[in-house]
């Protein structure tokens, strides 16, 4: 059996922002009973024993956990590489220096657009100026900086200016990831899915920037899979390289997998190794034996692993179906319908904001 390399630690689903493209679960209220510091530290120790070398400290907004530096220090003692994935709200100089000293290796800051009005509108909070300030602090303290920008119908036309911003901030990497439709993004899909015309306009801008910035800044561009011929190789194979622990201790093969109709697995009931090796949630789609046609006999079954189980479930109600993004899927019409609607003229752009979430026992 493969051993995992990466752990996505979703420390809390509380967040000061309310981005409608958020992939956190729609049922945020079930995650308020957050793991304690000691429980997270046990998770980190067990993850390292299982083979994990890379830790993503994420959320929600991980800075809302007061024990963040303590957890980062545990990760460093264990020899893990840690990434802080943050909105930058709460990233004060004092906090930043504390995290630097604790051993956080790399910081990823999200921005929602290239300038305040558009970014703040999507974030639902005046936050752009603080984010820019935080980026400067990250580089000043000698951290590598990644700028994370989720792209969608309402900001993809600004991608050139977003790249200029990243360059001006001295980012080492920029991740331009088209929205993936899980959680709140799934609920808001029709208002977020870009048109083909928008994508066609964005691609040469990204390609030109990538060439211009080669050697100075890595430009990662994640295409929207609804427009792809084949599905994405989700998680590089189910339960093969990564795992996610949700704020309440639920363990998942990918951060969207809480929607699947399989029994929960929790670090509060079992060890991480037991869950990785034998829980139905991890075992059900490991390898290729679970596949039906067209995947089972497809040459690409070890390339894209049938695509995304969660997307298959969300779109068809069957988690073992071929990802409908694939043009070979019998359910591909579902994706074609969504794409057609995104290209048929004006689209209703009203977004349902993601709520801020709360911790159990707090006001």
């Amino acid at each position: 059996m493969d051993r995992p390399f990466g752990l996505l630690a979703e420390l809390t689903y509380r967040c000061p922002l309310s981005c409608a493209y958020c992939s956190n679960p729609v049922g945020l209220a079930s995650y308020g009973d957050e793991l304690t510091t000691a429980e997270w530290q046990r998770v980190l120790v067990e993850a390292r024993e299982l083979g994990v070398l890379q830790l993503h400290l994420s959320g929600g907004e991980p800075l809302l956990r007061r024990d963040l530096a303590e957890l980062a220090a545990t990760a460093r003692e264990l020899g893990m590489y840690s990434n802080l994935v943050t909105s930058a709200i709460g990233f004060s100089r004092r906090r930043a220096e504390e995290l630097r000293a604790a051993g956080v290796d790399h910081v990823q800051v999200s921005v929602q657009a290239d300038e305040a009005a558009a970014s703040d509108r999507i974030a639902g909070l005046p936050s752009f100026a603080r984010k820019v300030e935080a980026c400067r602090l990250v580089t000043e303290l000698g951290w590598p900086l990644t700028l994370n920008v989720v792209l969608h119908r309402q900001n993809i036309d600004r991608v050139g200016a977003v790249l200029d911003l990243a360059e001006e901030l001295g980012a080492d990497r920029i991740e331009l990831a088209n929205t993936q439709y899980y959680g709140w993004a799934w609920r808001n899909r029709d208002a977020l899915l870009p048109s083909r015309e928008q994508l066609d306009a964005a691609e040469p801008v990204v390609a030109a920037a990538r060439e211009r910035l080669a050697g100075r800044m890595d430009v990662i561009y994640v295409l929207p899979d609804y427009y792809s011929r084949y599905p994405k190789p989700c998680m590089a194979g189910w339960a093969a390289r990564q795992l996610t622990v949700a704020p309440n201790g639920d363990v998942l093969p990918c951060p969207a997998a809480q929607v699947l109709p399989l029994p929960r697995a929790s670090v509060r009931a079992e060890s991480l190794a037991q869950i990785w090796e034998s829980s139905p949630l991890f075992e059900s789609f490991r390898g290729t034996d679970w596949m039906r046609d067209p995947c089972r006999s497809c040459d690409r079954r070890e390339t894209d692993f049938g695509g995304c189980r969660c997307q298959a479930f969300l779109l068809t109600g069957d988690a073992a179906a071929t990802d409908p993004v694939c043009h070979l899927s019998p359910d591909h019409g579902i994706v074609e319908d969504a794409v057609r609607a995104a290209n048929a003229g004006p689209v209703e752009l009203t977004l349902v904001p993601r709520p801020h979430g709360r911790r159990e026992g707090t006001a």
């Binding site: 051993r3 083979g51 070398l53 590489y81 990434n83 290796d105 990823q108 990497r173 050697g215 890595d218």
Partner: protein, 93 residues
Amino acid sequence: MITMLTAASRPALARHVRLTFDAGRDRHVLLSPETVAVLNATSADILRLCDGRRTVGEIVAELRDRYDGVAEADVHAFLQRMAARHCVETVDG
């Protein structure tokens, strides 16, 4: 622009990568923001010599003290690939 390495370049690991030993896998690994590269013994040996002080020429010489048949071109090509992936930076001198 990707830096072109010469025998006089002094390669160092980029500040955002960390070389470490994974006892569970019994291999050296190179950790960076989004990837974990599991290294073979030779690659690990080369990267451990990339300290920003040794030149590529000196690294090749040290490897030759340890191993037979070290091809300078192979070491160059490996370091060039690592530089292209921003894992290695160079100080020319």
